[in-house]
Symmetry: C2
Subunit: 487 residues, 2 copies
């Protein structure tokens, strides 16, 4: 089995005095401090009976202590189950039981919500940072071992636990560096939840690169803006709704030259946002990835940002990607399901033989996403295969219609789903959140007619205060679908 | 088995139009061109009967065609035996036979030297670059497969073939990037022979990073100087004798700010050279590595260059290093043998069960080098264990005395070995190359007395026109030892 030094241990040896984490309160922790804290927590947990191979769940919002915890569990050799804080108690119960967690470490804010949990719980604030460090902590890791189980964000269906190995994280971190470059002065702003792989991956990039993290509890446009303007941030990971707010806040301003990358993930971005970023000289890198690929899998590099606007670029170095339909690779330009393979792709779902049998084929993971490669090999992600609307034999991608809707100055958010239709089988209908009460259904439909073929124009518009988005801000279209009245 | 896309194939897909190789004649080849040429050569060799798993030797001086060849062999899945061009015909014969090479591809300049070779030979200039590319070339690689057999440079004893896998090269390239950083405008000057791992590793870094190589047939101080001054070179790999000449040529001048790394390897550097580089603001990174570690294993980063002058830094991220004596790790500060482990360390010597049994212990490779770690964990490499002189119970490291000798303004090169001595067991004696005929033995001994404890001062000085250095410019002390007169 391939081994490596424990990443934080190695990093603290290489650059002990370099900054590791800067919190929004202005605390600045070095890698040495982070290591000492992580080993202290590891020791405490070991004394509490936690052993190598145990499954331990963490339910917490972003904090320095959460980073400490994640590293501490690595020192013991625990499989860490990261719970999404926005789920219901029932959903947590399901995941804790499904993952066979032995212990739940939680943020005190969730104390009331988990009081009926049948497994042992520890309030994370009760874990001291000054324990004497035990001698028997693991200073090497086996690359093939599972480090995390993260349940898929569940925009549809029963959640499945994605198993990620240390090698998955390592491959993701090195692949990203090969794509984005690696500068001695890099500082990555972390405002995505760490229970999602997009946030978690930044923790590992930090220790592997020797790079400070500017840590935020959650996305707050004002705080993020200030940090970028004043703290020499070079990279931020964000999803579209965050980037949209950032661009509004930036206004006619300009980010410092040292800011070199807005890594935009979490689903296809809409054209108007990308154009806005371009207009303000914000270096946006559109990326495609998922929990199953330990984050970033394909990224559009800056040099093609304009020329290939809307593309998620090409798969990062060690990964492979093909477009296939019914088991066969399709020619360039043709739409099909996106299949991925590589060292950052999960070995499979925890305890889901059936899902693994259907999702994997000769090491290729069927992502369930639809897309195509253009003539230069650039990836364009269209939509979830499940969300595809087939109308009179034509394929309609909800994301395309949503992008058009969001280009309307008075539309804040939009979601498109299919409705049964006697004539066409299915037709698209839209849910929108607006900021101008005067906007009516006819206005919206007219707007769509300007940009879309007739069969793609929503046949009905529903106005809603808010659209259902999950903790990663991903639109949960299946909840919208449930709201569509029967015809 | 873990697979990856063929590296050149992937690189040509990612950045087809980016420069891959710039020759000293000014030819500029893109990655797309390099791929097409490599696939053409691969096709030709396949038609000549070469198959996956065959061992094919290459005997060539640095050229674009040699880079093409190395990649071509990867497209077939061949194990590539790289021969050192400075060896004798007998030595080549030994290696060809020992490595069970099926074919020898050679530079035309060696035609006469290999005329008695019993295996099939091909003159590399006879291989066309415009063959129709076959469909069955391998566009993926198995990371664990052996890509090369490189015989250890043989400063002593029978050469052994070091097996390097794709994963060794990959790990070396990513580890180096984590250490040196990775900039979009990087350009690496390659003037080390590619049959040594220090040169070969640059070829792989080029395709993995997407970075142009400025290729030189051999080190020529004038050409290298001009390239650094005019071609936006950012990194060069060099050994001490090259760096010494470069500093003389630089004189009171200054390299462009874009030049960010002189990676100095091939044995411990002497203090006066490092100080010279510092004085001229040349960013020198002292490094420790060997064929068995696929090049760079430990490197002193720029931020510690001054503070830890003479150290080879800390082992790069995925590697581990300890100092041991008689099977036990020794405390910090104590001298012992350097042991290394990690994904860039060879799996073992080709067909040398005995050497493998003695060199490896629980995946730790015994390097045969002596060194110590200081209180901050920085590595200082002293010398080859074999070259250690034990005099009256005291350890004497020839490199230390050589460094002192080379600090004398009239001494160009120096080598120190032990001589039998009735009283002390062994005493040090020195061979020197001088540039001032007036320098005599007493002068040299007096110079040493200023810097060295008495027992370390050479008891006899031999003047020589040239000292024996191998193709990697490493001093072959065993040849000097043979010249020491019996007493």
């Amino acid at each position: 089995m391939k081994t490596m030094p424990n990443w934080l241990e190695k990093r603290a040896y290489l650059t002990p005095e370099k900054e590791a984490v800067i919190t929004e309160d202005g605390y600045r922790m070095t890698f040495n401090q982070l290591r000492n804290d992580a080993k202290s927590v590891a020791t405490y947990l070991q004394h509490s009976g936690i052993q190598s191979g145990d499954h331990v769940a963490v339910l917490a919002i972003n904090s320095y202590k959460m980073i400490v915890l994640i590293h501490a569990l690595q020192y013991i050799g625990v499989v860490n189950v990261l719970l999404n804080t926005r789920l219901s108690e029932k959903e947590w119960e399901f995941q804790l039981s499904d993952a066979r967690a032995k212990l739940l470490i939680h943020d005190p804010v969730f104390k009331e919500n988990i009081k009926d949990t049948v497994i042992e719980t520890i309030d994370m604030t009760s874990i001291p940072l000054d324990a004497n460090v035990a001698e028997n902590l693991r200073t090497t890791i086996n690359q093939e071992e599972t480090s995390h189980i993260i349940y898929t964000s569940g925009t549809t269906g029963q959640p499945k636990g994605v198993q990620l190995s240390y090698d998955n994280h390592w491959s993701s971190a090195t692949a990203s560096a090969l794509n984005l470059g690696l500068h001695n002065d890099d500082r990555w702003l972390l405002c995505l939840p760490m229970f999602h792989v997009g946030g978690l991956s930044i923790i590992y990039r930090s220790v592997i690169y020797g790079m400070p993290i500017h840590l935020f509890e959650k996305f707050d446009v004002e705080k993020v803006h200030q940090a970028i303007m004043e703290e020499n941030i070079t990279i931020i990971s964000a999803v579209s709704v965050m980037a949209e707010q950032m661009m509004v806040r930036l206004g006619d301003g300009k980010y410092p030259d040292s800011f070199r990358c807005l890594l935009l993930g979490g689903g296809p971005a809409y054209r108007s946002l990308l154009e806005k970023c371009q207009g303000k000289n914000v270096p946006v890198f559109q990326t495609y990835g998922m929990t199953e690929t330990a984050s970033q899998f394909s990224t559009l590099d800056e040099s093609h940002a304009l020329q290939k606007l809307g593309s998620a670029g090409k798969p990062l170095f060690p990964g492979e990607l093909i477009i296939a339909n019914e088991g066969h690779e399709v020619p360039m330009g043709e739409v099909g399901e996106i299949l991925v393979k590589g060292p950052n792709v999960t070995e499979g779902y925890w305890n889901r033989q059936k899902a693994n049998d259907t999702s994997f084929e000769n090491d290729w993971l069927h992502t369930g996403d639809l897309g195509y490669l253009d003539e230069d090999g650039f990836l364009y992600v269209l939509d979830r295969r499940k969300d595809l609307i087939i109308s009179g034999g034509e394929n309609i991608y909800p994301a395309e219609i949503e992008n058009v809707l969001k280009q309307h100055p008075d539309i804040v958010d939009a979601g498109v789903v299919g409705r049964n239709d006697e004539k066409w089988g299915h037709v698209p209908v839209a849910f929108v959140t607006i900021k101008n009460e005067a906007l009516n259904e006819t206005d919206v439909i007219e707007h769509c007619h300007q940009y879309l073929a007739k069969y793609k124009v929503p046949k009905q518009i529903f106005f809603k205060e808010n659209l259902p988005r999950n903790a990663a801000k991903k639109l949960m279209r299946h909840l919208l679908a449930d709201e569509v009245p029967e015809r």
